[in-house]
């Protein structure tokens, strides 16, 4: 790993300033992606601005909304009694990321800011119609993930929290890559309190996407059978040694059906 200048600000404003002053700075949260990337020489930032000193961690559960602060590690979302009760699908998703030691370190803010196409949290943010709160503004989940490893965040903007509306029912089902546990495909299905349904797919494409045809069918009839005949197009989906685009397209329908059946 190349060397860098290390900053550990205790206030968000200082973190933003350190980034503005840096030649080629990077924010560090849990480091579960950034540090391996730097070790492989794929990134060599001039400055690391460690957000761990902000102490921005914790979960607030209200009647209509669950707010997860950006520095909250996956393990703490997974075991939080309030989250388990309000949005069990969110707790289960967090508890399925990586492995126990990764979950003790990786954070929700880091995960969504990185926007790995196979990460789990983007499916929760879009599928549950969450709002991403940053150091500068609030961004609707639908507008946050713009492209592969790219988000609506400006270079000196920090995610501070994610606000999840409490749905009527939801479930997240993923087909994990057996080696990395990243989602080959993961589907979040949620029926929101206003009756609208969201189907958000991660792992299959360059970034998380919704399946409007399934959403419409489920709004009319929330049952696995209602979407059995709906397929997403394979063209444009991810292709690697683990799965072809056709296989991923097939998995989307299979997992969406399972998620509908499991929604609670």
């Amino acid at each position: 790993m190349e060397n860098f200048i290390y900053h550990r600000p205790t206030k968000p404003a200082d973190a933003v300033k350190a980034m503005k002053d840096a030649a080629d700075g990077k924010f560090l949260s849990g480091g579960m992606t950034l540090l391996p990337t730097m070790k492989q020489g794929l990134a060599s930032p001039s400055d690391i601005i460690d957000l761990g000193g902000l102490g921005n961690s914790g979960v607030e559960v209200g009647a209509d909304k669950v707010t997860v602060k950006a520095g909250t590690v996956h393990a703490n979302v997974a075991i939080d009694k309030g989250v388990k009760k309000a949005i069990p699908a969110l707790a289960a998703l967090a508890g399925g990321i990586g492995d126990p030691h990764v979950r003790n370190r990786g954070t929700i803010g880091g995960s969504i800011a990185n926007n790995d196409p196979a990460a789990d949290y983007p499916a929760a943010v879009v599928g549950l119609n969450a709002t991403v709160v940053t150091s500068a503004r609030s961004v609707p989940g639908d507008k946050f993930f713009t492209d592969i490893f790219t988000t609506a965040l400006k270079d000196d903007e920090i995610v501070t929290a994610v606000e999840f509306p409490v749905p009527k029912r939801a479930a997240y089902v993923k087909f994990p890559n057996p080696a990395s546990r990243y989602a080959m495909v993961g589907v979040m299905v949620a029926e929101l309190k206003d009756g609208s349904v969201r189907v958000a797919v991660t792992g299959a494409g360059p970034k998380v996407f919704r399946v409007p045809e399934m959403e419409k069918a489920l709004e009319a009839n929330f049952s696995a059978d209602a979407i059995g005949g709906i397929k997403v197009k394979a063209s444009g989906l991810n292709s690697d040694m683990h799965a072809s685009p056709e296989y991923r397209a097939h998995l989307v329908t299979v997992l969406a059906r399972r998620a509908v059946a499991a929604a609670k």
């Binding site: 860098f4 290390y6 550990r8 070790k39 030691h101 546990r181």
Partner: protein, 154 residues
Amino acid sequence: MSAISMKVNGKAVCGAVEPRTLLVQFLRENLGLTGTHVGCDTSQCGACVVHVNGTAIKSCTALAVACDGAEVTTVEGLAKNGKLHPMQEAFREHHGLQCGFCTPGMLMAAVDLVNRKGKTLDEATIRHELEGNICRCTGYHNIVKAIQAGAENM
């Protein structure tokens, strides 16, 4: 260089490190605690698992400077007064190691697992919780048995 201090296995330690120094390097190279291993170096294998402020993390994927002020426990901190920790004793009793390379991480993951989920663990839970620890001898069968027995004796 940054000056850092920690409590490692109950003992106050300090040192000067480059920002890029990983926690595992600090433990092994600065403190000479070579029980913590570097296996894959890509945060997959879990040979480097240590406890930081009471939770298990992969020390090959944490900056030492970021752990300034932390309380760290490594495999060297498990045995007390010359007596093996119950989990270490169980690994010996049940032949929970072959080449032994993954053992420090397995032990630290196992103790963390008991701390989180209690002393009564079924086989499925143990196997699931070991997702982040790889044994290239594939000696999982006896590792699982050892963890089950060690948990009961903790």
